[in-house]
Symmetry: C2
Subunit: 158 residues, 2 copies
């Protein structure tokens, strides 16, 4: 039965071995949760989700794992202004480079991935200019738009 051996061995296994890290049950569970959702989960959200399958996994471990994954560049950590950090997978089959629209009325967060060509153009120029002007090497960027979603705009009008 060839091909059966690697079932349950997702794409991220190699990343851990490389860094000298151990691939533990909590870490796999957390990565599974993150890879299944397109939402922007908090540490507690993830803890609760993991808890359904692995009730013994603690919130502390969730925090530690998220910190590690962020260091490894496997997840992004965001501050959308509601007092808790939120996380999402940075790579993998599903996720693509995107930014966020944040509704200041209802706190809804919308993934936004259009106009990446314009953005790339802007970033390329900025990167070059900033490197020269401030002797600063850009590694990553954060772009967020704040405003009102359709529902909140209609609510306001009423």
């Amino acid at each position: 039965m060839p091909g059966r051996r690697n079932v349950g061995s997702p794409w991220w296994h190699g990343r851990f071995r490389g860094g000298g890290y151990r691939l533990t049950v909590p870490r796999q569970a957390i990565l599974n949760v993150l890879s299944r959702t397109s939402r922007h989960l908090s540490a507690e959200d993830i803890y609760l989700e993991v808890h359904k399958v692995h009730p013994h996994v603690g919130l502390t471990t969730v925090y530690r794992t998220l910190e590690l994954l962020a260091e490894m560049g496997m997840i992004f950590k965001f501050d959308f202004g509601d007092g808790r950090a939120r996380y999402e997978l940075s790579e993998g089959p599903k996720s693509a480079h995107h930014h966020h629209l944040i509704c200041t009325g209802c706190r809804r967060v919308i993934d936004y991935s259009g106009f990446m060509d314009e953005e790339l153009e802007f970033l390329k120029r900025a990167e070059k200019g900033l490197a020269k002007k401030y002797d600063f090497e850009i590694k990553s960027h954060l772009i967020q738009f704040y405003g009102l979603c359709d529902k909140c705009r209609k609510k306001k009008a009423a």
Copy 2:
């Protein structure tokens, strides 16, 4: 002695009267601190600075005032990733629209105000496209670049 009357009556006085707010000693002191610096102060930074002149002003009042000023749009509140909010005046004689370069090596924050024409171009297109695609009305934006400053880059090379 015409012209003497308004000494000590800065440009922001009118903003308070308009909103039905009282222009108190702590609020003026906080605005004075913010208007004198180009740094990105935390609530405690501001508290300590105000404390030199007005030792009776409490940290609680600083937090409350900062919240009010942010609501009024007179200051911006930032998260540069060091676990505390940082503030800067959003308008006034000195400040101009700008964004931030954040060194992930030493946490230094550099004000960046070049290439605003490119940015404006990008934002204009994004705004229009997002309004149509997501029915979302952009009110403001946050752009931050992360990377390594000159000193940290040299340190790393050594």
